[in-house]
């Protein structure tokens, strides 16, 4: 983790009318770093994620992303076309419910190939080869490439969503409860896959989760949110093993150990 931060977030605040979504959030994210944002429902973590991924505009604060060609840019000062292009190429967004991040009416291969076609890939054979390669990397059997997503299990759908995002080689991936809708046994496999991909590809990730075990496994650093504010942050193992803030201690103490 050297050089410049990939993402600099300063004082991000977003309200819903008089209610606070998230308040005054500040942090930096470095290349190759995984930041976990944990909290319970209503903590503001999803609101924050949506602001970071440009799906919602904050009411205050700045989000500066280090673009490949033009250096650090305030993402909300960019034109909408540029922002949308960034979201389609340099960023990935993995939704909790994979149907929100997939086209259900086209085949798995088309889903994976779309980002390539969106930036001008025009050779069917090459697009298909890339799609096959990525299906392999997310452990989806390659003979499913022409199958429709509705024939896939939940875990496979989530892996398909991941492949669809990673095919454009993003540098930053936002994940919202990536294992949230999956069975426990399936979660383990997905988390392992994510760990491997993050390490192999040097991705920066912001992962929102309410599951501390997921955070411990994936994240280098953790931010704990409550009622819209960040109450504690630091090294993942330190926050979970030696929580300082009363709310963090409550969260950690509340985990059930089988």
């Amino acid at each position: 983790m050297t050089g410049q931060p990939l993402l600099r977030v300063a004082g991000v605040t977003r309200r819903y009318g008089t209610r606070i979504g998230c308040r005054d959030v500040t942090f930096d994210l470095w290349p190759g770093e995984v930041l976990g944002i944990v909290g319970e429902s209503g903590s503001g973590k999803t609101t924050l994620l949506k602001c970071l991924s440009a799906q919602l505009e904050p009411d205050a604060g700045r989000i500066v992303y280090a673009t490949r060609d033009d250096g650090p840019q305030d993402i909300f000062a960019l034109s909408e076309p540029r922002r949308r292009l960034l979201a389609r190429t340099d960023w990935g967004i993995v939704h909790q419910h994979p149907v929100e991040g997939l086209r259900m009416k086209v085949s798995a291969g088309a889903n994976v190939g779309e980002r390539l076609m969106a930036v001008g890939a025009r050779h069917y054979g090459q697009i298909r080869t890339s799609a096959l390669d990525w299906l392999g990397r997310v452990e989806i059997p390659r003979d499913r490439i022409d199958d429709m997503p509705r024939t896939f299990s939940g875990g496979m759908l989530q892996r398909l969503q991941i492949a669809r995002n990673l095919v454009s080689q993003p540098r930053l991936v936002f994940m919202d409860e990536p294992t949230g809708s999956l069975d426990v046994s399936v979660q383990a496999r997905l988390l392992d896959l994510l760990r491997g991909l993050v390490a192999d590809l040097g991705l920066s990730v912001v992962v929102v989760t309410h599951d501390l075990a997921v955070a411990r496994l994936l994240a280098h650093r953790l931010m704990v949110m409550r009622a819209g504010s960040v109450v504690e942050e630091g090294l993942t193992d330190q926050v979970l093993d030696d929580p300082q803030h009363p709310y963090t201690q409550l969260l950690v103490a509340s985990i059930l150990h089988p």
Partner: protein, 234 residues
């Protein structure tokens, strides 16, 4: 401060404030000063509750110190773990600080050989080289080859402890933190661990450890640092 030391703790204070229990304060450590030189092994000694494991965890950055400084020699300079950023501590752990804890955190599906090789990969060694080192250590620690491709979740306690150890020694860390490294091991493996520690010292590593087994302690420790449970608040 003249420093030929690899690790210097000064004025360490640690307490837990249990907000969930109405704010009860549990003192753990107070006024700890300790230095470890390269090639030296210091054994932390004391009864249960003296804070020995906590001290190791503080050095590793797993616990947060409420007072004092923890200076680790890193890349020709010093890093104070007590105040360093998360990124810095992660870099320290990758290159400089090795830690063998009492428990192996098991990640599902990752084979034992990869668990051991991972720290070597993290410092930039090739997959082949890292695997080779891992294999050598696993062999020395008498983990049968048929287990290397299996995830350690189903291994016995002793086997898991040896995986942990292999992982701690696969990289030549300048500072090694060992928490009961021989707790679940038989005599042969205890001797291997003693040899590994000896080799680490010989190449200049500073070792800070907790050794319940007197024989092991006598074999590896150059100094003993005595610790006592903190005086309870009046």
């Amino acid at each position: 401060m003249t420093d030929t030391n690899a690790l210097v703790l000064a004025g360490i204070g640690k307490q837990f404030t249990l907000h969930v229990q109405g704010g009860v304060v549990l003192p753990v450590l107070s006024g700890i000063d300790l230095a470890v030189a390269p090639g030296e092994c210091v054994a932390l000694n004391g009864p249960s509750g003296a804070g020995k494991s906590s001290l190791l965890r503080l050095v590793y950055g797993n616990y947060r110190a409420q007072a004092g400084s923890i200076r680790v020699g890193h890349r020709g300079g010093w890093v104070d773990v007590a105040t360093a950023s998360a990124q810095t501590i992660l870099e320290l752990r990758r290159h400089t600080l090795g830690y063998v804890s009492q428990f192996l955190r098991v990640i599902p599906r990752v084979p034992a050989i990869d668990v051991v090789a991972e720290p070597a990969r993290a410092v930039g060694q090739s997959a082949a080289e890292a695997e080779h080192r891992a294999e050598r250590l696993l062999s020395r620690l008498r983990i049968p080859e048929r287990l290397w491709s299996l995830p350690p979740a189903t291994f016995s306690g002793g086997e898991q402890q040896r995986i942990n150890l292999a992982r701690g020694f696969v990289v030549d860390f300048p500072v090694l933190l060992l928490d009961e490294p021989t707790a679940a091991l038989d005599a042969d493996n205890r001797r291997t661990v003693v040899a590994l520690i000896g080799e680490a010292k010989a190449r200049g590593a500073a070792v800070l450890g907790i050794f319940h087994d007197g024989e092991v302690r006598d074999a590896v420790a150059d100094r003993v640092f005595a610790m006592r449970p903190p005086a309870l608040a009046a």
